[in-house]
């Protein structure tokens, strides 16, 4: 799945830099599309606003979704993309600092595929990203519906 992009929805530029660094460290070469708020994420997914005219046939292999986002909240993004036919089956990994039970519960209820907590320790973070990459980009079988 090396040709598929990774959609990273993250508002904190430090976290973006660190995540990209972690991906690079793990030799994950997929193109990373960064959306710095929920609205931008939806624009990308539905080809509106800043990303209008984008070929919607090319959906990301996995969406790394932070929860606390400006404009449109992470859970709202999840809810929207789960209700649209075009994006319903996307793999969404919630990647957040929050361990609050309500976030966990809501995330799964809205249909997230996975919930990973960002550790403070960068070394551990790199390892987490590695595991995520290994799993979602290599091991996991995507649904066949999306035209390959």
């Amino acid at each position: 799945m090396a040709d598929r992009s990774i959609l990273l929805v993250e508002d904190n530029p430090d976290d973006v830099a660190l995540t990209l660094r972690a991906l690079k460290k793990n030799n994950i070469a997929n193109q990373v599309v960064v959306a710095s708020d929920g609205a931008e994420a939806l624009d990308y997914l539905f080809g509106t606003g800043k990303h209008s005219g984008r070929d919607l046939g090319e959906m990301p292999a996995v969406v790394l979704l932070d929860l606390k986002l400006p404009k449109v909240d992470g859970l709202e993004v999840l809810r929207r993309l789960r209700t649209d036919e075009r994006t319903k089956l996307l793999r969404v990994v919630i990647l957040t600092s929050s361990k609050e039970e309500q976030d966990l519960m809501n995330g799964y209820k809205l249909g997230a595929n996975s919930y990973v907590r960002k550790p403070v320790d960068f070394v551990k973070f790199v390892d987490a990203v590695r595991q995520l990459g290994m799993y979602w980009l290599v091991l996991n079988e995507p649904p066949p519906v999306e035209g390959e």
Binding site: N12, D14, D15, L18, S97, S98, E100, K118, V120, F122
Partner: protein, 559 residues
């Protein structure tokens, strides 16, 4: 059972769903109304009792006065009788020798001051002789007099009604007419003793009255025989229209409260008949005086009950305002808790992000600029990373501590042995290389919050695991013994580093540590959390230890 009912009432009153008006009316209903009822009923009863008492006393008084007067009148009649039955006197009268007969009676008025004048009349009522002598009336017929009509009916002794006599001075008198009998027992004449009304007035004054009460007497026609407010020789007034007099003349005794038409004041009149003579005695007193004491007592009672009712209303209001305040405080508390929750939530998210940056970029520096940074520089960066990590741990521990305080304790039966066993397995799995002996007592079932107690055991067993790192083999025990007060006391014992008992009181304080970070990593918050959880279960936690000889942590789980 009463306590649980009370608890439920209080809860209902405090609950948000209960409308304040309902609580208000309930409180007033349950406190004020009963007090008011008691006050009213008790006052009414007291009023009845006191009034009855006073009136009964008055009645008895009138009866006593009547009895006394009867006795005196009887004695007077007896005097007459004894005179009329003197042998010589009877003989003389039978022979018609009136003048001589009256001579026998000469000294009587002097001997009996009550008898003002004596008359001797024949069977037809004509006056034949008198003592003292008043010539103008001799020979006159007095058959129209009440005394004649009365005595001539059955020729029995008769006490007349009051009248003004013919003879001068024209006194108001009452006549006792005694028949004089001859040898054969038939009447031969009439002996009349005239008694001035002063006599009765004087007698009535001898009866001791209190408080403005007075006594008056009427004859059988209701005419005043004596009345302290009337001159004895003025016009003979007719009191037959007065209610108490009417009743007494009917032979009744009792008491009446009526309006005095002249004075406008209410009068209490106790009446009694003078038996045998058909006369009436009335003891009268202003109602105000009669009931003075009663009214004073009632006024005191009313004041007292008034105070009680006022107090109960106050009490009800105080309770109401307390409930109000409690509700407000409770709402504020809930609000504060919600704010705290929101705060903790944002803390957990917002504080970690910068820490991640600090750690991440320090690491990036270490990796990318390894050749450009000397050993000291690398050391600095390591310290930066370490500090960031510790701060993250602290945040975690603080959040855990605050979560424990906020959360409710959900009690359910749980197996502590199984819990301890699972935690032991987890710890061992993290460091499989370590040699450790776990001695966990089986069958330790109790009641408590599973989640919170898991945190307790994780902490205590985790600490034991941590501080026995230098021991081979480490020995960690978990069990229970019957405590000094009979409550099961659980313990976690290890053969690890131990601690100096001198610092025992610092053990459970938040952020207190007894070892340096270099010796044993830790935030120093864990035991504070343990203590809080145990306290919320209503139990106690304490520890024993000695440096180098291991430590034992004990805890109980409340009743």
């Amino acid at each position: 059972m009463l306590k649980s009912l009370l608890d439920r009432l209080v809860q209902a009153a405090l609950s948000d769903k209960t409308r304040p008006r309902k609580v208000q009316s309930a409180l007033f209903g349950f406190i004020v109304v009963p007090v008011l009822l008691v006050a009213i009923i008790s006052s009414m009863q007291t009023y009845k009792d006191l009034t009855k008492g006073v009136l009964a006393r008055r009645e008895a008084f009138a009866s006593l006065a009547a009895a006394t007067l009867k006795e005196r009148i009887d004695r007077l009649m007896d005097v007459g009788l004894s005179l009329a039955t003197r042998v010589r006197f009877r003989q003389l009268v039978a022979q018609g020798r009136w003048e001589e007969a009256s001579q026998i009676l000469q000294d009587i008025p002097r001997e009996f001051p009550a008898v003002e004048r004596i008359l001797l009349a024949d069977l037809g009522g004509t006056l034949r002789a008198d003592v003292p002598v008043i010539p103008s009336v001799r020979g006159q017929s007095f058959s129209y007099r009440d005394w004649y009509k009365g005595v001539s009916q059955e020729w029995k002794p008769y006490l007349s009604e009051a009248y003004r006599r013919m003879a001068e001075p024209r006194y108001n008198v009452v006549a006792a007419a005694i028949p004089i009998r001859g040898e054969d027992g038939g009447p031969t004449g009439i002996l009349v003793l005239q008694i001035k009304l002063d006599t009765f007035l004087q007698w009535s004054k001898e009866v001791d009255m209190e408080g403005g009460a007075f006594l008056y007497i009427t004859d059988r026609r209701g005419q005043a025989v004596s009345h302290p407010h009337l001159p004895p020789h003025g016009e003979v007034l007719d009191f037959s229209g007065v209610a108490p007099v009417q009743r007494a003349l009917r032979g009744e005794r009792g008491i009446l409260i009526s309006q005095d038409p002249v004075g406008m004041e209410q009068q209490v009149g106790a009446y009694a008949p003078i038996p045998g003579y058909g006369w009436a005695v009335v003891v009268q007193q202003a109602a105000g005086t009669t009931f003075a004491v009663r009214n004073r007592t009632l006024a005191t009672m009313a004041a007292f009950y008034g105070a009680v009712v006022v107090l109960s209303v106050l009490l009800a209001s105080v309770i109401l305002s307390m409930i109000d305040r409690l509700k407000r405080v409770s709402n504020q508390l809930e609000l504060a808790n919600k704010e705290l929750e929101a705060f903790s939530y944002s803390v957990s998210h917002d504080l970690r992000a910068p820490l991640r940056s600090i750690d991440g970029f320090s690491q990036a520096l270490l990796e990318d600029y390894a050749d450009k940074v000397d050993a000291e520089g690398k050391d600095h960066l390591h310290r930066i990373r370490g500090a960031a990590q510790r701060m993250a741990d602290l945040i975690e521990a603080l959040l855990a501590l605050s979560r424990v305080t906020r959360s409710e304790v959900h009690r359910a039966p749980l197996d502590l042995s199984a819990l301890a066993g699972a935690i032991a397995a987890e710890l061992q799995q993290r460091e499989p290389g370590r040699q450790a002996e776990w001695v966990i007592q089986g069958g330790l079932a109790t009641e408590g919050d599973a989640r919170l107690l898991r945190a307790v055991l994780e902490n205590l067993l985790g600490n034991a695991w941590k501080f026995t790192a230098a021991r081979a083999p480490a020995r960690i025990e978990f069990g229970v013994w019957a405590g000094s007060d009979g409550r099961p006391t659980y313990f976690v014992r290890d053969n690890g580093a131990g601690f100096d008992m001198a610092y025992e009181d610092k053990l459970f304080g938040a952020f207190q540590r007894l070892h340096t970070q270099a010796e044993y990593a830790g935030t120093g918050i864990g035991l504070a959390t343990v203590q809080r959880i145990i306290h919320r279960h209503g139990g106690r936690v304490w520890a024993e230890g000695a440096p180098g000889k291991g430590a034992t942590f004990y805890f109980t789980l409340g009743p």
